[in-house]
């Protein structure tokens, strides 16, 4: 399965985007987000970008005020996931230009569309920025 969920959370612990690749109920999501955000936000810059939580791992990376958290299975390559986060940010940056938290908030659906292109069934399926953005650009043009 690989990736179980992708979360974007700001410094105050407020969720800015949440995508789960296995079904969790609202309560489960709330609890999980609370727990892991508390865990990750408490860590400092020197510590690893990885946190073990229950039976999976969270790989996280911080950009300005926004944290990107990716929950992965235990056999996943953490460094690669760390770079996957960066690829996601680069892709969003290419689309929005100087992407920031507000871009994601105002264009939540577009951020989701990008994720839909990049990750399916919890697997990374596309890593070419052109390929990821093309459907979104075409869609914008048509509407």
């Amino acid at each position: 399965m690989g990736i179980r969920f992708i979360l974007m959370v700001n410094k105050q612990g407020q969720t800015r985007l949440a995508q789960y690749y296995e079904y969790l109920t609202l309560e489960e999501r709330r609890a999980l987000e609370g727990e892991i955000v508390r865990k990750c936000l408490a860590r400092n810059e020197q510590q690893c970008s990885f946190v073990e939580h229950r039976n999976y791992k969270i790989v996280y990376r911080r950009y300005a005020s926004l944290f990107f958290l990716v929950g992965v299975d235990n056999d996943e390559n953490e460094l690669a996931i760390l770079e996957f986060i960066h690829l996601l940010v680069e892709t969003m940056d290419r689309h929005f230009g100087n992407v920031c938290e507000l871009d994601i908030m105002f264009h939540l659906e577009k951020a989701h569309f990008m994720l839909e292109e990049m990750v399916m069934n919890g697997c990374i399926v596309e890593t070419s920025k052109t390929n990821i953005l093309q459907p979104i650009q075409l869609m914008e043009k048509s509407s």
Binding site: Q46, S49, E101, T127, M139, S142
Partner: protein, 981 residues
């Protein structure tokens, strides 16, 4: 105010091209963004729910407005509230013809609904229709939804269409169709088992994206069944080779690495295929070695690929050269300042240690550093490594450390985990009975309620049976030391229930066995336990039974039993208990006590917990009673099956079931028509037209046949045709100028048909060979007196000479043909001769290796922008970016330089001079900005640096947002710090 409204309306109509959203939506987002607490956020969302409930069901809502409502619903759910009242509107939106609305509808539905939700049935029809659409973007949107919403019952409804789409002219559709099949495989493997050949076919798709996606399902399939896919080894190797040679489109490059995510996936697959298979592994050595050489070790992504190489190397049949390369990378990881790399290094070490146990010794100090690091993640990873290298010589140190850590943490999940690890190691390697009991006591005392009950039962069994040797003296010594330690512990307050059960049981069985303690002493203790934990019925039950055993042993040995008054009152109390179990035990105790010695000895033999109890299933001891009854005129018993007049019920039922399965709906797809096996394509034609990526593609019938004939494949398989031509499509990635590598790969493909059978026939032999290799016990390697801990962890005092020399020899040899090793200065602190010697043999420290931080800090007087430019020019952009995250300790240096520059204008001009790299710079500055945030204790920073390269953009956004009435709130500066200067 009026003006603002106008602007808002204009924006809503998109006339200004702004965010294209209504004022209302912007206000909502703004207020959510400015919420200071969870409570405030909840208030906003609850208000929003009220508004939406009212508005969303109004008639004739314009489509664009509806889309916004749907996204507001998404917000509500994202922030943890129920938006189920609006699900139906999301479902309706999927029916819309406009692509954007449709896709938004699908997105919302996938975010809201599980695949067994009732509303799904309303979408399946739409999905079916959309899968047939002429617009490939609509097909893609539908396939995305298929991957999230279709469950095993609805698979048949879309399966045929999805299969058709595998050959769609658009690569994006083929890719998503493959992933839809992948999803079906997860949901119900049997539903697509006849379609596996499609994965093989798509592996040689001429679009690298489709190929890359296909690796996901193939990885899963290979995980489950390696042998069926051994024939693909050459294909994967050849693909990996091409990827590493940069033959994929530039778009897949990431930080100068060619398609690293595909490389990683391929390495994972090779690790599976080469595991315990020498022949298959040999085909991989070259390409893995190439990647080791080519990988950029200064970037995160390069290290990610290197780490995957190590995983691969430690999984496949060992190759000395590759192991050496892997060891070298590991030592670089461990010596790095980055905690991330250390973590990867420790993990990699744990993998390699199984194959070459000696490499751990070079890194003992690094390992101990990690163990003592305050970072929990690193510490746990290191415990994982220690667990793997535990042997009887170091078990005491390791388990003690684990227990100390276990006591210090609150995380119950991990506590449970590490407790079971401790128990496992203690059972396996315990140096003495005494130590074992002590260790178990500590584990139970501190994590008792988290420990699996089985562990407690195991402990009881272990105390009863001893360590397996026929040494009665040792066994009884074990028992008395257990009793003694429990008597000490029993006084502690609040012991876990499981532990108390063990204690009571041991007291009952062995409390008085060695004659050291009197029956009244032990029974007194047991009564104390029962009293102190009067809420815990299980403990009380254990205590009463223990009392009964002790009294029984006393009576049997002919001593007179004086029941303590507290025992008597306990028994009386329990005989009136609400729990029938406790009552029964109390009455049993009273009954046993009143019996004579002979009867008691038979009921409760001394130390008989290990005796087998024979169960007479025929109840033959009742025979005389039955006989007597029959003579008295009772009816004889007729077994159920022989009773006349009744049908055999079980038979009947099974028949019924059979009927049901015959008449039930048939959800399975019909099987493909099977072609006769013998008419397969002749092998001779394969080689000449072989594609760049040779992918043998047995058809369905072939596959089943193959599975059936696996055992005999070594003789039958070699003559049979194994490849099927897959059309005439040639897969050519990359520039045509690469002519020589092409020929070499096609050579490789020619040998496929032979190679395949060889692999199969040799698989058994190799796995056997591998097994013997693995089972070779790790030698008890030993180092001289280091730091105490190092010594105790890594071995004892003998063989001091051998290790350092061989290590240094290895290092010099390695450095001669591969990248130079960097030597962390920390290692030099080691006061040990052996290590010093090792260091002397190593090349001088290479500062550039992982070295961005070092470079900057060593030359702080240089103009920072020049330096940045220099870094960027030498295509080190990525490492600069990484440096912020990786070399976090040094980051403030760069930052300080930034802050020192007088104006933001200068920074942007410097960075603008490199337009192609401006993005990366932006990130770099952003990263350095955030590190500075920590140095400045969270104060908002000169944000113009954040937006350095593109001040115009930022200003425009700023203006736009202000226009819309969204003013940055001073209480919540961070949210807007990116946007507003």
């Amino acid at each position: 105010m009026e003006q603002l409204k106008t602007i808002g309306r204009e924006l809503a109509m998109g006339s200004q091209g702004g965010f294209g959203q209504s004022k209302e939506f912007l206000e909502l987002v703004k207020s959510i963004g400015e919420a200071r607490s969870k409570a405030e956020e909840d208030r906003i969302v609850l208000h929003e729910i009220e508004t939406l409930k009212r508005r969303i069901s109004e008639p004739d809502i314009p489509k664009r407005k509806m889309k916004e409502f749907i996204i507001r619903l998404v917000y509500i759910e994202m922030l943890g509230h129920d938006a189920s009242f609006g699900y139906i509107h999301a479902v309706k939106m999927t029916h819309d013809d406009t692509l954007l609305l449709k896709r938004t509808g699908y997105l919302a539905v996938t975010l809201f609904l599980n695949d067994d939700h009732d509303l799904i049935i309303l979408i399946v029809n739409t999905i079916q229709k959309d899968l047939k659409s002429d617009n490939y973007l609509i097909v893609c949107a539908a396939l995305n939804a298929v991957c999230r919403l279709i469950n095993d019952e609805t698979i048949p409804a879309v399966l045929p269409q999805v299969v058709d789409l595998l050959n769609h002219q658009k690569e994006a559709v083929r890719k998503k169709a493959i992933m839809a099949l992948h999803r079906f495989y997860h949901k119900s493997p049997s539903s697509v088992s006849h379609l596996f050949s499609n994965f093989r076919k798509r592996l040689c798709d001429n679009d690298p994206g489709v190929m890359g996606a296909t690796l996901c399902p193939l990885f899963d399939l290979i995980t489950v069944d390696v042998n069926t896919y051994k024939d693909l080894v050459l294909s994967f190797v050849s693909i990996l080779k091409q990827v590493a040679e940069r033959r994929l489109p530039k778009g897949y490059d990431y930080h100068q690495m060619p398609a690293p995510f595909i490389q990683i996936r391929l390495l994972k697959i090779l690790a599976l295929l080469g595991s315990g298979d020498k022949l298959a592994s040999e085909k991989m050595y070259t390409v893995v070695g190439d990647i080791f050489r080519k990988c950029d070790s200064t970037s995160n992504i390069g290290n990610a690929v290197l780490y995957e190489c190590i995983c691969c190397v430690s999984s496949i049949y060992p190759n000395p050269k590759l192991l050496e390369a892997a060891a070298e990378v590991i030592s670089r990881f461990l010596k790095s300042d980055s905690h991330n790399l250390k973590y990867m290094g420790i993990d990699a070490l744990g993998r390699l240690i199984k194959i070459s146990p000696e490499i751990a010794e070079q890194h003992q100090l690094a390992v101990i550093d990690c163990l003592e690091d305050p970072d929990d993640t690193l510490k746990r990873k290191t415990f994982e490594l220690l667990y793997k290298m535990t042997k009887s010589s170091n078990v005491e140190v390791i388990v003690d450390r684990m227990i100390d850590y276990m006591i210090s943490i609150n995380d119950n999940h991990y506590k449970t985990y590490i407790a079971s690890r401790c128990v496992e190691l203690a059972e396996q390697f315990a140096p003495s009975n005494h130590w074992f009991i002590q260790t178990m006591n500590k584990v139970f005392e501190h994590a008792g309620d988290l420990v699996n009950v089985k562990v407690a039962h195991n402990l009881m069994r272990l105390i009863a049976e001893g360590f397996g040797e026929d040494d009665d003296a040792a066994d009884s010594q074990l028992r008395s030391s257990a009793v003694e330690s429990y008597l000490r512990i029993i006084g502690e307050p609040k012991l876990p229930s499981v532990f108390l059960q063990v204690i009571c049981w041991v007291f009952g069985e062995y409390g008085t066995a060695d004659g050291k303690y009197s029956a009244s002493y032990i029974t007194g203790k047991l009564c104390d336990v029962a009293e102190a934990y009067s809420n815990d019925e299980t403990v009380k039950a254990y205590a009463v039974t223990a009392l009964m055993k002790i009294y029984a042993f006393e009576i049997a040995s002919g001593r007179k039993v004086d029941m303590l008054p507290e025992c008597q009152s306990l028994v009386e109390e329990l005989s009136a208990s609400h729990s029938t179990d406790l009552q029964q035990r109390a009455y049993e105790l009273q009954a046993v006590v009143s019996l004579d010695a002979h009867a008691v000895e038979i009921i409760m033999p001394l130390d008989a917990s290990c005796e087998d109890i024979e169960i007479d299933k025929n109840l033959s001891f009742l025979n005389s009673y039955v006989q007597q009854s029959l003579e008295n005129g009772a009816q004889p018993y007729i077994p159920e099956s022989e009773r006349s007049g009744t049908l055999d019920i079980s038979n009947f039922r099974s028949q019924d079931q059979h009927e049901a399965s015959m008449h039930g709906l048939k959800f399975e797809a019909y099987e493909l028509p099977k072609a006769p096996v013998t008419s397969r394509i002749p092998p001779a034609s394969v080689a000449p037209s072989a594609e760049l990526v040779p992918v043998p593609e047995p058809s369905y019938s072939r596959e089943t046949h193959q599975v059936a004939s696996v055992p005999s494949i070594s003789d039958a398989g070699s003559t049979e045709p194994r490849l099927k031509l897959d059309g005439v499509r040639r897969v050519v990635w990359g520039k045509p100028t690469y002519s020589s590598p092409t020929s070499s790969t096609s050579n490789a493909s020619q040998s496929t048909s032979n190679g395949v059978t060889q692999v199969d026939s040799a698989a058994n032999v190799n796995s056997k060979a591998r097994k013997t290799h693995d089972s070779r016990k790790p030698e008890a390697e030993i180092t001289p007196e280091k730091q105490k801990l190092a010594a105790s962890l890594f071995g004892g005092p003998s063989k001091t000479e051998k290790r350092p020399t061989s290590a240094s020899h290895k290092v010099t040899k390695a450095s001669s043909h591969a990248a130079e090793k960097s030597q962390a200065p920390k290692a030099a602190v080691v006061s040990n001769q052996a290590t010093l010697e090792k260091i002397n043999h190593q090349p001088p420290p290479d500062l550039l290796d992982l070295g961005e931080p070092t470079v900057t800090s060593s030359a702080p007087s240089v103009d920072p922008f020049k330096q940045l430019e220099g870094l960027l020019d030498t295509t080190q952009v990525t490492s600069t970016v990484n440096h912020g995250a990786v070399g976090a300790t040094e980051a403030p240096d760069i930052m300080a330089l930034y802050v020192g520059t007088p104006a933001g204008g200068q920074s942007s001009s410097a960075e603008n001079s490199l337009p192609s790299n401006s993005y990366d710079i932006n990130l770099t500055s952003e990263l350095s900005n955030l590190t500075s945030g920590t140095t400045n204790a969270g104060a908002t920073l000169p944000t113009q640096f954040t937006k350095g390269p593109n001040p115009k953009d930022a200003l425009e956004k700023d203006a736009l947002v202000r226009q819309m009435g969204v003013t940055p709130s001073s209480q919540n500066p961070n949210l807007f710090s990116d946007l507003l200067g």
